[in-house]
């Protein structure tokens, strides 16, 4: 069945995502992004306040206590991938499952589904 191809795609995608977040992210451009740059240039960046959880050990995509910037950022990237994978796959599995459950409830009319 074509389901196999789907899981190959998902597996490859996960590996690519881990590589990007855990390794390539170190080489990302570190200039301020569009919003920050505009705020800086136009003069309203000073209205920004630190997030209430800016003191988290994982704040700003790093792991507190890990000295190597490359390792700290890479670990944070991997952590983010894992957390979002758990939430994302869980949430969408539940949503996809509920459709199947509803369809079964409504009867066995659609055989091809």
């Amino acid at each position: 069945m074509s389901k196999k191809g789907l899981w190959v795609l998902v597996g490859v995608g996960l590996v690519v995502s881990l590589f990007l977040a855990g390794f390539v992210s170190f080489y990302a451009n570190s200039e301020p992004d569009g919003l920050v740059k505009v705020a800086e240039d136009q003069g309203f960046l000073a209205t920004a306040q630190d997030s209430a959880n800016a003191t988290l050990p994982t704040a700003d995509y790093g792991i507190a206590g890990v000295d190597s910037e490359r390792l700290s950022g890479g670990l944070a990237g991997v952590l983010g991938v894992v957390v979002i994978a758990v939430i994302g796959f869980g949430l969408f599995w539940l949503l996809g499952r509920s459709k199947k459950a509803t369809a079964e409830k409504q009867g066995v009319d659609q055989e091809s589904a």
Binding site: L9, V10, Q42, G88
Partner: protein, 244 residues
């Protein structure tokens, strides 16, 4: 206010840019939007598309870490709403980006906690809706082939970013704490975000093009418009010989 001193990977709207009442209203709107998306996604997702939706959330998180240069001293990063909407539908797409923004705000302190609603509206809801309608409108007119789908994906990504920046401008106009005139902010925001939109369009086109190459039936934005020769891939009788 040490924002400039840290290495900025991405920086969503922080606390303080937009006043508390406006942020609170945005929070309510975001919750309503997410509720609508949960309901819509339940109708669109099935067991085939659910794993892809999980992957889309993960991929967008990873790609958002990869800031690319857009002009002197300025970077941009993927927003991902258009990409997500094209691949898994607008409802699930907006949800996928919202999950990313929630985790970024809660776990990595990227974007203010009070600004979560603002960030979800701008980067999750607006980009998914705009990206979806641009993409669907285009494929309806030009048809479906890999180059055409990639062209439509490019434009959907490109347009979604400046529109998202306009959503910020609207929020700034209503509840911005800064004293800079709205017109000035508008010009600056839209200008730089058109440049970022080009990057968004390229990433969106390449990613959609890659998925379309291996499994065109998994691209939700064209799943009901695939030409017959491409439908063969999802036919259970022939897939055993397909090897994918």
């Amino acid at each position: 206010m040490q924002i400039q001193s840290v290495q900025v990977h991405t920086m969503h709207i922080p606390d303080g840019f937009i006043n508390a009442p406006t942020s609170a209203v945005a929070g309510v709107i975001a919750v309503i939007g997410i509720a609508i998306c949960l309901n819509g996604a339940r109708k669109q997702l099935d067991e085939k598309t659910a794993p892809l939706a999980g992957l889309v959330a993960v991929f967008i998180f990873a790609m958002q870490m990869l800031n690319f240069p857009v002009a002197l001293g300025t970077s941009g990063h993927l927003l991902g709403g258009a990409l997500a909407a094209i691949l898994i539908g607008p409802y699930a797409g907006a949800l996928a980006v919202s999950v990313v923004i929630l985790v970024q705000g809660l776990l990595f302190a990227d974007g203010g906690l009070s600004a979560l609603g603002l960030n979800i509206i701008n980067m999750g809801l607006v980009t998914a809706v705009v990206g979806w309608f641009v993409f669907r409108g285009l494929v309806k007119v030009i048809g479906v082939s890999r180059p055409k789908v990639m062209a439509a994906a490019f434009l959907a990504g490109l347009v979604s970013v400046p529109v998202s920046s306009l959503a910020f401008v609207l929020e700034y106009a209503i509840g911005g704490t800064g004293t800079v005139p709205v017109s000035t902010v508008t010009v600056a925001m839209v200008g730089v975000h058109i440049l970022i939109g080009i990057g968004e369009g390229v990433i969106t086109a390449l990613t959609v093009g890659a998925v379309f190459l291996v499994r065109p039936d998994l691209v939700y934005g064209v799943h009901d418009r695939l030409p017959k020769q491409l439908l063969v891939t999802s036919n259970p009788v022939t897939t055993s010989a397909n090897g994918s």
